[in-house]
Amino acid sequence: MATETHEATAGACVDAGGSAIGMPQLCADWMPNQVFWLLVTLVAIYFILSRVALPRIASVLSERTGTITNDLGAAEELKERAAEAEGAYDKALADARAEAQAIVAKTKEDIQADLDVELQKADAEIAARTAQSEKAIAEIRDNAMSSVADVAKETAADLVVALGGKADKKAINAAVKARIGGAS
């Protein structure tokens, strides 16, 4: 590779073979070129950045920060509203529960009142029926008693007649009465 036609450029920095003599970095012949193009490059990059890129990125970043702040604010607001709604819901629930309890208590009271009335009525009826029954039983007993006395008088009179005596109505009645009266 050493035989290329670099003789034209051969000089202080390059040998006849086209290779560098010493460090190319230190060759003064080449420096003005690098310096010139470097300055052009730096100015170009500076203008690209300061005129277009940096303001644009700065605006995008601040816009994003603004958006994020707004979104966070909105989220905060929504959260508050959710908390409010939850409070309202809890309150409604508590109210409903209280109302339900009130209704239950009132219903219980009503039922109790009805029950009391009915019970009193029933008691009264039972008392009435009991009294009636007692009356009937007393009547029946009285009837039975008088029947027993009649049957006893007749039987006693018949017995006296059958035994050959004479039926003394008065004496028999007194005797029967004494017996029954003693028994009852």
């Binding site: 590779m1 050493a2 034209a8 450029t9 000089g11 920095c13 390059v14 040998d15 073979g17 086209g18 290779s19 560098a20 003599i21 010493g22 460090m23 190319p24 970095q25 230190l26 012949d29 080449w30 420096m31 003005p32 070129n33 690098q34 310096v35 010139f36 193009w37 470097l38 300055l39 052009v40 490059t41 730096l42 170009a44 990059i45 500076y46 690209i48 950045l49 300061s50 277009v52 890129a53 940096l54 644009r56 990125i57 700065a58 605006s59 995008v60 970043l61 816009e63 994003r64 958006t67």
Partner: protein, 252 residues
């Protein structure tokens, strides 16, 4: 320096690790004048085109939810903006476009230089010296314009014992003037060394026996260079911010 190996015909070992840095005219063969369009020009132009593509075309959507390219552009913007703000404070923000220019130029020049057959402008000491001394002169002028003669107070340590102050002042002045030198040589040296080492490994790859090792070496050094390209752009930029801070607040 590598010319002796030209006569080395039998092994096929040809070392020209520095030939990659030779500027060549793209049109015509004559000597390179300051205005000649060379491969330096070409790769600088490609760097400008890449900056334009990323920072202008990439953000042309102005989307609230960024596209991929836009988020890269925003990431770089935010990164450098925060660096300037953190190091220089609020007063440094108005110099942000200049620092952004430096960072993007060095970043793209470094990374484009890693494309095989490309040219690496940031390996040229003339280029980095312009950058380094440009920063140095700008910062020094700015320091005197903003602070007047009190900018010199930067060299006079008021907290140090009185006896030591003159000595420290001398050291501070020397270190101040060494800044642009180290600033520019650091960048050029790193880029140049990496590229030259890759070329040396590539030269060894011509020997069948060692070529696997040489190719592994190229791969490893290339990986390292990818790191170095980004880190050097970052280092150059943050040092620029630090120097700028001295001009804005010379009294520590």
């Amino acid at each position: 320096m590598a010319t002796e190996t030209d006569t080395h015909s039998e092994g096929g070992l040809v070392f020209h690790p520095l030939d990659q840095f030779i500027p060549k005219s793209l049109f015509g063969d004559g000597p390179i004048a300051w205005y000649s369009i060379t491969n330096v020009t070409l790769w600088l132009a490609i760097a400008v085109a890449c900056v334009f593509l990323l920072m202008v075309m990439g953000t042309s959507g102005r989307k609230i939810i960024p596209s991929r390219l836009q988020s890269v552009a925003e990431l770089i913007y935010g990164f450098i903006y925060k660096m300037v703000e953190d190091v220089c404070g609020k007063e440094g923000i108005k110099y942000f476009p200049y620092i952004m220019t430096l960072f993007l130029f060095i970043l793209f020049a470094n990374y484009l230089a890693l494309i095989p057959m490309s040219y690496s402008p940031t390996s040229m000491i003339a280029v980095t010296a312009i950058l380094g001394f440009g920063v140095f002169i700008a910062v020094t002028v700015l320091g005197f314009v903003l602070n007047g003669a009190s900018f010199l107070g930067m060299f006079w340590m008021k907290d140090a014992p009185a006896v030591l102050r003159p000595i420290i002042a001398v050291i501070e002045v020397i270190s101040y003037f060494v800044r642009p030198v180290s600033h520019s040589i650091r960048l050029a040296g790193n880029v140049m060394a990496g590229h030259a080492v890759i070329k040396v490994f590539a030269g060894f790859a011509a020997l069948t026996l060692v070529s696997p090792v040489a190719i592994l070496g190229i791969t490893a050094i290339y990986g390292l260079e990818v790191l170095v390209a980004g880190i050097q752009a970052y280092v150059f930029t943050i040092l620029t911010c630090v120097y700028l801070k001295d001009a804005l607040h010379p009294h520590h």
